[in-house]
């Protein structure tokens, strides 16, 4: 597609349920990032993929969070046993090669509300 696509755009879930967020990066972009933006806050870095591998998963807030990327393209962020503090906008971005001076393009985000 022309840009980074995220789905769903909005998700309301009950506390304790699992959710899966999807990111379709720009075709040909090898680097993919997940960020979390809470109300009134900046972006919190969660995880980065170069191809299918994630060198460092320490940015994930807890072991309830996991992410994978297959085929060097689509990525999913899974949150198990959701808690109210997980409510936030989850943003995905992709860039051509992940170098520090390469522009990252963001999707519109998934707004997650845990009730």
């Amino acid at each position: 597609g022309a840009g980074v696509s995220q789905s769903p755009s909005n998700k309301v879930t009950e506390k304790g349920k699992d959710v899966e967020l999807r990111c379709d990066p720009i075709s040909g972009h090898t680097a993919l990032y997940w960020y979390r933006q809470s109300l009134g806050q900046g972006l919190e870095f969660l995880i980065y993929f170069q191809g299918n591998s994630a060198p460092d998963k320490s940015g994930l807030p807890s072991d309830r969070f996991s992410a994978e990327r297959t085929g060097g393209s689509v990525s999913t962020l899974t949150i198990q046993r959701t808690q109210q503090e997980d409510s936030a906008v989850y943003l995905c971005a992709s860039s051509l090669d992940g170098r520090w001076n390469t522009e990252a393009f963001f999707g519109q985000g998934t707004r997650l509300t845990v009730v």
Binding site: Q41, L43, F45, Y48, G98, W100, N101, A104, F106
Partner: protein, 115 residues
Amino acid sequence: TQLLEQSPQFLSIQEGENLTVYCNSSSVFSSLQWYRQEPGEGPVLLVTVVTGGEVKKLKRLTFQFGDARKDSSLHITAAQPGDTGLYLCAGGSGDSGGGADGLTFGKGTHLIIQP
């Protein structure tokens, strides 16, 4: 932990006025990026500065990277209602700063330009 502090947090001014927002850190960054985010959208890159003392101009926007690469400023001349949005600065570090280390984002400046 690298932190970027942005000021002011909120700014509301009249159309035609000038303004400056600041992004400060005690850490050195390889690059500094400025993004603009509108409600319901992901951040969009405005500029990347990489050299200490560098100044970049984008129409009515002037971006400056501090000599020590620890701080940056965004100056808007003759602000217009279309400039309204959340302005985020983000620092990259390391050889693959925007990649494996992720970008460190400030909390942003909420800018409102009143007609």
